[in-house]
Symmetry: C2
Subunit: 127 residues, 2 copies
């Protein structure tokens, strides 16, 4: 695995970690202090806001894990990867994609944009 893959997996582990202290350590180790997070449900969260958001999601689906499902594709300090949620009974939710921006040294994530589920096909009538 590359350093970038390890960084992304550490971040996903933060989403998956049931201990609030260990989760915060993983997330803070993965993100810059001024990092931002946006997905379909939340807009432009800072790190404390993201930690609260993950805590709420973990309460709604205890034991769920976020697992990277694709290779990491990166260029110019940007990267994309797919991930899914695995529930404790092994059920997987539809894949999402995250697009991240890295810090100048590449060691941390400074912004995350997430989208949920696969991209739908373009309607034939519209092509």
């Amino acid at each position: 695995m590359t350093d970038l893959e390890r960084l992304i997996d550490q971040y996903c582990e933060g989403w998956s970690c049931p201990s609030p202290e260990a989760r915060e350590a993983l997330i803070r180790r993965s993100l810059t202090e001024d990092a931002t997070y946006t997905d379909p449900r939340v807009d432009n969260l800072n790190v404390p806001g993201l930690l609260d958001h993950i805590a709420r999601i973990q309460q709604s689906r205890p034991g769920a894990k976020v697992i990277r499902t694709s290779a990491v594709d990166s260029h110019h300090g940007l990267a994309r990867f797919n991930w899914h949620v695995v529930l404790p009974d092994g059920t997987t939710l539809p894949e999402g994609i995250d697009v991240i921006e890295l810090s100048a040294d590449g060691a941390r994530i400074r912004s995350i944009i997430g989208f949920f589920g696969p991209l739908r096909n373009r309607p034939a009538a519209d092509a």
Copy 2:
């Protein structure tokens, strides 16, 4: 089609347009003045830089068109869509994805991040 889909298709038409004047008009109508463009080949181009880049690409594959292939998925002033290049003989190149940020009024694109080809699967050994 939604206004956002029309905006994105107008931008793709800019990539596909053989006339430099019409191309510039389409691209300028689609982007904010301070818009930036990054893909695996170029980093953080401004609008004139993007126009030069498109001109070079059109010289390398005359008659090629960039066509949106998916629905547009958007939230919080962000959007993603898939696209591919169609060569004059009908050959299609592998799908890429663009993630864009919109201007505050949603009428123009203010940043574009592109990735080429499908995301590869995560190697089994690494999971």
